[in-house]
Structures are given as C-alpha cells and as structure tokens.
C-alpha cells in the first residue's frame, strides 16, 4: 500500500491479489454471503480510489478492513431503509384497500397481525389448524369443533398474556 500510495503502479497487482480475498472473507462474515460480496467489491474499489491518501504509519490491512466494515454498514442501512420504504408503501396500499383511515392504522394492524402470528407459532399444530380454519370461515359444524376452538383460543390467550401481559 505504501508503494501504491507513492504511485508505484507495479504494486497494484500484488496488492489486489492480497486484498481481495481478505476483504471478501471479512465482508461475507460481517454481512452475509449476498451482501458481503457486494460490500467487499465496493470496499475494494474504495480502498484503491483512496490509495493516494493512505498514511504509511497505519496498518494497511486494518485500514482496508475498516473501509470494508463501513461499506457493510452502509449497505445494511441502505437495505433497511429500502425495506422500511417498502413496508410503508405496503401499509399505504393496505390502508387504501381496506379503507382504513390512515397508514398508521394499517401499520398498527400489521404489527398486531405479526404479534398474533408469532404467538400462533408457539401453539400445537392442531390448535393452529383450528384457529386458522375458524379465521378463514372454514369452521366445521358441531360441538367438537366448537370445543376444540375454545380450547385453542384459551391457550392462545394464555400465551399472549405470558408474552404481552394484558394488552
């Protein structure tokens, strides 16, 4: 890196061969396989673009890995922002479709639905099946189903209170 910073072009290939695997491994470990590859490429380009600024008193690998960590963070934030925007767009669409008064209502509804789904996941398969059948209007006639549904809902309420209190 010192030679590159000094303008020695012959140092480019060895530096590339040394840096790319290190940055790739580091970024994949930090951001996962798909994001890590993108972050590593962006970090590599940034490292070479800033090679002229490299301070020879600093450790070159630590400097490059610092840039890679920054790229991973930037990529993650960008993805989160995109996901939030997508969720907001879905909320708006849900609100429009359901005739809800505002996107906030839709967001609250979505959160409740997610919380309910996560509680459902802790119940026994037969309870999940019963509640799902009742919710979709496919309830069977007869006392057996009604009893099973009562017991499933009781267990659901118990699990809900255990996790969320009496909200």
């Amino acid at each position: 890196m010192v030679r590159l910073a000094d303008g020695d072009r012959s140092a480019f290939r060895p530096a590339f061969a040394m840096l790319w695997p290190q940055l790739r491994t580091f970024s994949v470990r930090l951001a996962g396989e798909a994001d890590g590859e993108d972050a590593a490429q962006a970090a590599l380009l940034r490292v070479f673009a800033r090679a002229g600024e490299y301070d020879r008193d600093r450790d070159a690998l630590a400097w490059a890995l610092g840039i890679a960590a920054w790229e991973c963070r930037t990529l993650r934030k960008r993805r989160e922002r995109r996901r939030e925007q997508l969720a907001l767009a879905l909320d708006v669409a849900d609100a429009a479709a359901a005739g809800a008064s505002s996107p906030e209502d839709a967001a609250v509804e979505r959160e409740l639905r997610e919380a309910a789904e996560s509680i459902l996941g802790t119940l026994r398969p037969i309870d999940i099946e019963t509640i799902a059948a009742a919710a979709s209007g496919r309830r069977a006639q007869g006392a057996t189903f009604r009893k099973r549904l009562e017991r499933a809902l009781a267990r659901f309420r118990l699990a809900w209170r255990a996790r969320h209190g009496n909200e």
Binding site: F12, R13, W20, L45, R46, A51, G52
Partner: protein, 182 residues
C-alpha cells in the same frame, strides 16, 4: 471461467478507481495554485504573466503528483518552498515599498534572493532524506521556481535569476554536507 472473468473485471475496475483516485488526489492542489495566482494578482502583478505562470505550474504540479514517485513527492515541498519565494517579494510590496524600476536593489531583489535561499535550503534538507534525490530536487526546484516566479517577477528577470541563485547558494551546501543514504 465466470469467476475468473469476474475477478478480471473487478481488477480492471479497481485499477480505474485507483487512477481516478490519484487524479482526484492530485487535483486537490488546484485551489492552492489558484490562491497563489490570486495573491500575485492582488499585489499588482500583470494578469497575463500570472495566468501564464499558473498555466505552466498547474499541469506540472498536478501531473507530477498524479504520476507519483520521487518527482511526485517533491510537489508538496516544492510548493511550500516556492511559497516563501512568492511571499517575500509580495510582502515587500504590501509594506508600502514602491519599486522605481525592474531592477530595484533596495528591497525587491534581496527579498527574491532571500526567498530563493529559503526555498533552496528547505528542498535540500528534504531531499537529503529522500531516495531518488536528483529527481526529487529537479522536480521540487521546477515547482518552487514557477511558484516563486509569481512573486519574484516583481523585480523583473533579475528577480527570477536572483531567486534561482539564492536557491542554489543555500541548497548546494546542504546537499553537499548531507549524510549519505545507506
């Protein structure tokens, strides 16, 4: 095959990023050069002369900084050294001294010689620590000379010659007495 192509493509992009990064890094000198030209203009130096000197100095400084090596490393010290040769004659003008002719011996010419001396000594001291000293000195002197000429033309061609003489007179002994690189 695809992985290999990807790596080659990435290497090409990385090389392009490196070259563009170096160019951007070299171009950071431009505001400094523009400020030097503006200072010379503000002190009454002719517009045409200032433009010609900055037009010669800017590509040389940016080009050498971009290319790198000993010549590129000399750009910063050369500009710093040249700024003394630029500032001293201009300072003489700002304290109220008025030159009667191009060959003004009372303050203008001595200030050019002194500025050149400081520049020469600074460059020689720095070159003593550098590998590739000859290239460093040549590049540094060219940059410092053009920078200093922005101010030293105040005393006409004599001012520029005086500056060069001062640089050689102060720099040569420092270079001759420098400890040899192992």
């Amino acid at each position: 095959m695809a992985t290999n192509e990807l790596a080659v493509n990435l290497e090409v992009r990385a090389r392009r990023a490196y070259e563009l990064g170096r160019l951007r890094w070299a171009l950071r000198l431009m505001p400094l050069l523009a400020a030097a030209g503006a200072a010379a203009l503000a002190c009454g130096r002719p517009v045409g002369l200032c433009c010609a000197l900055v037009a010669a100095l800017a590509p040389l400084a940016v080009g050498l900084a971009y290319a790198g090596g000993p010549a590129g490393r000399a750009v910063g010290p050369g500009l710093l050294a040249g700024s003394f040769a630029l500032a001293l004659p201009l300072a003489v003008r700002t304290i109220g001294h008025v030159c009667a002719s191009d060959i003004c011996m009372s303050l203008c010419l001595p200030s050019c010689v002194a500025g050149g001396g400081i520049a020469g000594a600074m460059l020689a001291l720095r070159a003593a620590k550098e590998q590739g000293g000859a290239l460093f000195i040549a590049s540094g002197l060219a940059i410092a000379g053009l920078m200093g000429a922005l101010g030293c033309t105040l005393a006409g061609a004599g001012g520029v010659i005086g500056m060069a003489a001062g640089a050689v007179a102060a720099g040569a002994p420092v270079l001759a007495l420098r400890p040899r690189q192992p």
